[in-house]
Each structure stands twice: as structure tokens, then as C-alpha cells.
């Protein structure tokens, strides 16, 4: 998942903790292997290499694709799992390398869910296009692991995959989990959230941007234009019942750019937005 994944658990017995950790790790690896766009031979690789042919997908993949479609609709097409190819021209390395308009336009020919035919369970996509479930896969893995823990008896656990996390319930001897949210540098916390139970997800990465002529380009790309969303917050942290929901709200808010706070205020979820 491209980030450190951890499970903090309070189990009555060491053996129980080990078994829980084993199951959670196995589930995380399963999801990683199945949906990572960096791996060969999995369902994502098969879809991306189909060269226009129709692919039949399994139930779980279909569920994730359906969810992605919902986000696509809710975001006025700004959340788009085919937008990953924009990374070929946009590299957010802190430099001033802004791609040319023609370069962006060329890649944009391969972006857009509207070019894809999705009739569950059949997916057909023009050759050269790619999907990337990275925008929802990690949060999905966190929620799946939390569900496993509840199945196993529901010991107080914190599932934390690179900052997207779920607390199954408050720790035994404390009132809540203390979650520090990273600031500009990885070693300094920006704020501390007391999480009793529920999910917390953060979108945005204050260290990934481009800077040219005094203008900051955030790494949040708008797939309808091919350009970074103007005035996107540096980071948004959301509390929700599930990690998938928290991740979705924070991503949708990011894509709103300057209107992010207004959008978030209308939601019921607790949020912290950093400019």
C-alpha cells in the first residue's frame, strides 16, 4: 500500500494478539496483491492490459468499481479511477517542472470514465487507458481488517495503514486512542485527535507539490481538465464511521479546491482542514 501498515491491539493473551495480527496482515496482503497497480497478473493488471477487450471481474472488484462510479458521479466526474495516467506528465517532486499544455492534452485522451463501458460484471476500456484503485483500496483494506477484528471478538484495536485508520473501540484503560496527524514534516505532529472509536482518514500531502513563478500546484489533479485543482487545501482529515467513507469525503472535499471547507461544513463528519 506504499506506506507503513500497523495494528495496535489490546488482547488478553499473547497468542490471541498474534492470531489477530496474522489474520489482519493476511487480509492486507490479499488486498494489496489483488488490487495494486504495481503488481503483475492481478485483476487491475488484467484490466489495464486488456487492449480494448471485455474483462469479466469478480464480485469484490465489481463492488469496488461500483463504489468508484458512485464517487465519480458525486464528484461531478472529478474522482476518476482512470486519471492515474496523468502522473506520466505530472511529477510532484517539489520542483518547478510544469508540463506543457499539449503534453497534458495528449494524456487526457486516455482519461475519463465516460470512455469506459461498465456493465457489472463486464468492463471494457479503450486500449492505453488504465485504472488505479489506489484512491479507495487502502481505506477499503482498513475497514475489512476492522471487520475481521470485530468477527474475532472485538478487542480494542487500532488499524493504521499509512494514516488511514480505524479504532474498533476505546483502549481498555484509557478513554481514547491518541492519534497525531502529521504536519509539514513527518516528525512533527500538526494536531492530536482523541479517537474513541471510528475511522479517520487524511487526504493531501503537504510535501508533494510543484512551485513555479510563486504559484503552488497541489498534487490533487482534476481529471476533467488534466490540471491541479486550484486552491486545494494542503491536507484534510475526516472522522467518519468507516474509513472508506472518511477517505471518500476527504477526497471529494480536496477536489472542491477553494470550496472545500464549505463542502465539509455541510457534511456531518468532523473535519480538520489545513491550508
Amino acid at each position: 500500500m506504499g506506506s507503513p501498515c500497523e495494528l495496535v491491539c489490546e488482547a488478553p493473551k499473547r497468542a490471541h494478539a498474534l492470531r489477530l495480527t496474522g489474520r489482519v496482515a493476511a487480509e492486507a496482503w490479499r488486498i494489496e496483491e489483488k488490487f495494486s497497480r504495481y503488481l503483475e497478473g492481478n485483476i487491475v493488471a488484467r484490466i489495464n492490459a486488456a487492449s480494448g477487450k471485455t474483462i469479466e471481474v469478480d464480485e469484490e472488484t465489481a463492488d469496488l468499481l461500483d463504489f468508484a462510479v458512485t464517487l465519480y458521479d458525486l464528484s461531478e466526474h472529478r474522482f476518476d479511477i482512470t486519471s492515474g495516467v496523468l502522473r506520466r506528465v505530472w511529477r510532484f517532486d517539489g520542483s518547478d517542472c510544469i508540463p506543457g499544455v499539449s503534453e497534458v492534452e495528449a494524456v487526457m485522451q486516455l482519461v475519463g470514465w465516460h470512455r469506459v463501458s461498465w456493465q457489472r460484471p463486464y468492463l471494457q476500456m479503450p486500449a492505453g487507458m488504465e485504472i488505479d484503485l489506489g484512491g479507495i483500496g487502502k481505506e477499503y483494506a482498513v475497514d475489512r481488517c476492522a471487520a475481521l477484528i470485530r468477527e474475532e471478538g472485538g478487542d480494542p484495536c487500532l488499524v493504521n495503514f499509512g494514516g488511514d485508520l480505524v479504532a474498533t473501540e476505546a483502549p481498555d484503560r484509557r478513554r481514547h486512542w491518541k492519534v497525531a496527524i502529521e504536519g509539514d514534516s513527518a516528525t512533527e505532529a500538526d494536531r492530536i485527535v482523541n479517537l474513541k472509536q471510528g475511522a479517520l482518514a487524511t487526504s493531501g500531502d503537504a510535501r508533494r507539490f510543484l512551485l513555479k513563478d510563486g504559484r503552488r500546484y497541489s498534487h490533487i489533479l482534476d481529471p476533467t481538465t488534466g490540471w491541479p485543482v486550484p486552491d486545494a487545501p494542503r491536507s484534510i482529515t475526516i472522522v467518519a464511521d468507516t474509513c472508506v467513507e472518511a477517505g471518500a469525503v476527504s477526497t471529494l472535499a480536496m477536489l472542491k479546491g477553494a470550496a472545500a471547507e464549505g463542502f465539509l461544513k455541510a457534511q456531518t463528519a468532523a473535519f480538520w482542514c489545513r491550508r
Binding site: 463504489f67 458512485t70 477499503y140 470485530r150 505532529a189 479517537l195 472508506v244
Partner: protein
């Protein structure tokens, strides 16, 4: 697609999430940002029985948390003290008249009654500040400063503590140091030690300001033994240097045979003491060594906290303290905590009930009951609960009883028939509110 209403987005997301994750039971999220400040306030009443000391104390501790476990702590305490305290003079069958510490007036105590000095009224204001900061992954440093002021006393102090975790954070070693520089400006001036209490208006035996310095050093180890047990041991050393005498305490100068306080010849028309009293004198150094052990044991929500302290000093006072607390949860939001404390000490080598005119004048002497041989017990209970908005309140009620004895060898003549050690009963009521 047309512009979505933000609320319908919420609903659509919730439905989509539910479809994706299935209908597992998910509890609603509960989270809030860690507040920057937290405040711990308390109101305390300490009342000794009869006309003796009463203390009303208000205190507030404010703690500001910064990221990365750095803390700023500020505290303010205001005490209002009233009441009377034993002067050190012994009971007589006849009334006794004393000059007030100010030297400006006199007061009379009826026969058979323990002489108390009722001029004891003061307001004390104390402030302190501290900063805590981790150093690297396993160390922690605390630095602080404190000051307090009352009418006749001023304290300034600085302190520092270093703690380091070892053994996967199961062992913590710590070392601390505190320095205190105090100055005293007793009402009417500090009396020259072992000189007589003089007539009203006569200040010929009064000295100027006094001061004392105190150095405290503590070394400690805390060890996690198991999931349920944490133990701690400390050694502390304390060295006081300077004016350690109580300027308001006296001793009765008594007849070596009868044990009665010697009468004094009064100058006509001048108010003054009816009997002969000498101001006390203590050594100007005191070195204490303490060993402290504590164990906290957790069992099914209940916590037993037991500690023992042994203290010995070069004034020959040895003391033992056993303190027991047992915290029992009541439901999820409240607890009850019975508390018992036992204390016993031996008397200081220069403690004496009175000074006999048949013996040479000692270099040091004090009849302060706090330096005598006594036992004390504190028994009480604390009830704590969490308020609806997640703040904590507590109410503590305790009774304190102190009873002492004067060694038979110090009792002269008629003193044997009198109650010589001023026993003490007190109640403590404290209300705490943390938010």
C-alpha cells in the same frame, strides 16, 4: 450530472459504503481534537478542631499540551489561614499572659488551658511553572520554577528532573534536583534564640530578616513488573541550611522541682508576660534521607496503590509512613477511593516540653509539638465522577488524628498531672474539578 446537494452526497456515500463493506455492525465514530489546555482546579478546606488552624485553599493548575509530548504547566494556589496554634508554652493552673509576636500587645490564656497563639492569620499566594519535554525517544526532561509569598515569608525555587526509559520502556530511571531560597521576615523581627519573651514595646532582643536554603536531590527507579503491577522506589536527600527555627515558638522556663512555670516580675504600668518564656532555638542545618517504595496493582478495574516511606534526619527524627488507596470503579463513569494513612515519628533530640531552671541552658531547644514523638492516622474517602460533558469532578473527605507523648524523663513535678502533648484532630474536605 447537475450540482449535488451536499446533504444528498452524505446520504449517497453512506449507502455506497454500506454496499461496499456489507452490513457489519459499525459503531458511530466518536472523536475530538485534543484540547490545548486542561485545567485542574480545587477548593480545599482544612480545619483543626477548636480554635486551631483553618485553611481555605483555592488552586488551579493549567496545562498546555504542545505536539510531541511537550507540556507547559502553570499553577496558582491561594491559601487563607486563620486560627490559633500552640505556642510551645505549657499549661498552668493559673492564667498566663504573653506578649504577641509583634511585640505590640499582650494576650491572656485562662488557667488549665493550652496556650495558643491566635495571631496566626495569613494569606499565602504560590505560583509555579514547569516545562516538560522529551529528549530523543527515551528521555524526558522537566524544568520548573516556583515562588510563594505570605506576610512574613517568601520562597523562590528552581527544579529540574531527568528521566530515561530502558528495557523497552519497562524501566525508568530518574534523577531530580531542587533548590529553594527562602527568606523570613517574622512579625516584630526574629527573636534572639533562647532569650526571654519581653514586655510589650521592648524589641531589644529582636533580630532582622532571616533566610534559609534547601537542596533536594532525588533518584528513582520505576519498574513495570507485569500488565497489572508497577513498582517504584526513590531515595531522596534533603539539606536545609540557615534559619530553621520557628520565630513564634517559645518554651516555658520551669522550676526544677515543681515543674511550674516561673513567675516574672512585672514593671508597674507596662504590659508583659506573666511568666518566664524563652524563644526556641534549632540547629541551623538539617539533613534528611528518605527511602520511598510504591506499588500500584491493577485488578479488574480496581487499583490498589500502596506506599511506604522511611525518613531519618540528623535531628534524630525517624519517621515511617504507610499510605493505602484503593480505587473501585462504579459503573463506567465514577469511582470511590478509600484512603488510609499511618504516620509515626520519634522526637527531635532537642525537643523538650519545658526548660528547667535546675539545668544549664541547652544550646538547642524546641517545644514545637510537630517535633515531638507522635502518631497520626488519616482516614477518608474520595468519590470521583465524570460529568456529562466529559469533565471530571471529585469530592474528598478525610479525618486526621494526631496523638503524641512526651517522654517521662522530661516531665517535672506537677507536669505529670497535666495533659502535655497537644493532640490534634482535623477534617479535610476537597472538591476538585478538571476540565
Amino acid at each position: 450530472m447537475s450540482k449535488q446537494d451536499n446533504r444528498s452526497i452524505s446520504a449517497a456515500l453512506a449507502t455506497a459504503t454500506c454496499t461496499l463493506l456489507g452490513s457489519g455492525v459499525v459503531q458511530p465514530a466518536v472523536a475530538q481534537e485534543e484540547p490545548d489546555w486542561d485545567f485542574n482546579t480545587s477548593l480545599l478546606y482544612y480545619g483543626e478542631d477548636g480554635d486551631r488552624v483553618k485553611d481555605f485553599s483555592v488552586s488551579a493548575i493549567a496545562r498546555r499540551m504542545f505536539v510531541d509530548d511537550r507540556f507547559l504547566t502553570l499553577s496558582l494556589t491561594v491559601d487563607g489561614l486563620t486560627g490559633a496554634t500552640p505556642s510551645g508554652a505549657i499549661r498552668q493552673d493559673v492564667p498566663q499572659t504573653f506578649t504577641r509576636p509583634s511585640g505590640n500587645a499582650a494576650y491572656t490564656v485562662p488557667g488549665g488551658v493550652l496556650p495558643l497563639d491566635d495571631t496566626f492569620k495569613d494569606t499565602r499566594v504560590a505560583i509555579s511553572g514547569g516545562w516538560q519535554q522529551p529528549i530523543g525517544e527515551t528521555s524526558l526532561i522537566n524544568v520548573g520554577a516556583s515562588a510563594s509569598k505570605e506576610y512574613d515569608y517568601m520562597h523562590l525555587g528552581v527544579n529540574a528532573k531527568y528521566a530515561r526509559d530502558f528495557n523497552q520502556r519497562n524501566t525508568t530511571l530518574s534523577a531530580g534536583i531542587a533548590l529553594s531560597m527562602d527568606s523570613l521576615d517574622p512579625v516584630g523581627g526574629a527573636p534572639t534564640p533562647l532569650t526571654p519573651m519581653l514586655d510589650v514595646g521592648d524589641t531589644s532582643n529582636r533580630l532582622g530578616d532571616q533566610d534559609k536554603d534547601v537542596l533536594d536531590v532525588v533518584f528513582g527507579v520505576t519498574q513495570v513488573i507485569s500488565r497489572n503491577l508497577v513498582v517504584q522506589a526513590n531515595y531522596s536527600y534533603s539539606m536545609s541550611d540557615g534559619y530553621l527555627t520557628d520565630p513564634y515558638k517559645v518554651l516555658s522556663l520551669v522550676d526544677g522541682t515543681t515543674g511550674d512555670t516561673l513567675l516574672r516580675t512585672l514593671t508597674p504600668g507596662v504590659e508583659g508576660p506573666s511568666h518566664q518564656y524563652l524563644f526556641e532555638n534549632r540547629p541551623d542545618e538539617r539533613t534528611k534521607h528518605s527511602l520511598y517504595g510504591q506499588a500500584k496493582y491493577y485488578m479488574n478495574g480496581k487499583v490498589l496503590d500502596a506506599s511506604y516511606r522511611y525518613m531519618t534526619d540528623d535531628w534524630d527524627i525517624d519517621s515511617h509512613t504507610v499510605d493505602l488507596r484503593y480505587r473501585i470503579p462504579f459503573g463506567t463513569d465514577s469511582y470511590i477511593e478509600p484512603h488510609l494513612r499511618f504516620y509515626t515519628q520519634t522526637e527531635a533530640e532537642f525537643y523538650q516540653l519545658s526548660i528547667s531552671d535546675a539545668q544549664p541552658l541547652p544550646s538547642f531547644a524546641s517545644a514545637d509539638y510537630r517535633l515531638g514523638d507522635f502518631d497520626a492516622i488519616t482516614a477518608g474517602v474520595k468519590y470521583g465522577w465524570r460529568t456529562r460533558n466529559d469533565n471530571e469532578m471529585s469530592l474528598r473527605v478525610e479525618a486526621y488524628r494526631q496523638a503524641g507523648t512526651v517522654p517521662g524523663s522530661q516531665i517535672i513535678g506537677n507536669q505529670a498531672s497535666r495533659d502535655n502533648y497537644p493532640d490534634l484532630n482535623a477534617v479535610i474536605v476537597q472538591f476538585g474539578y478538571r476540565f
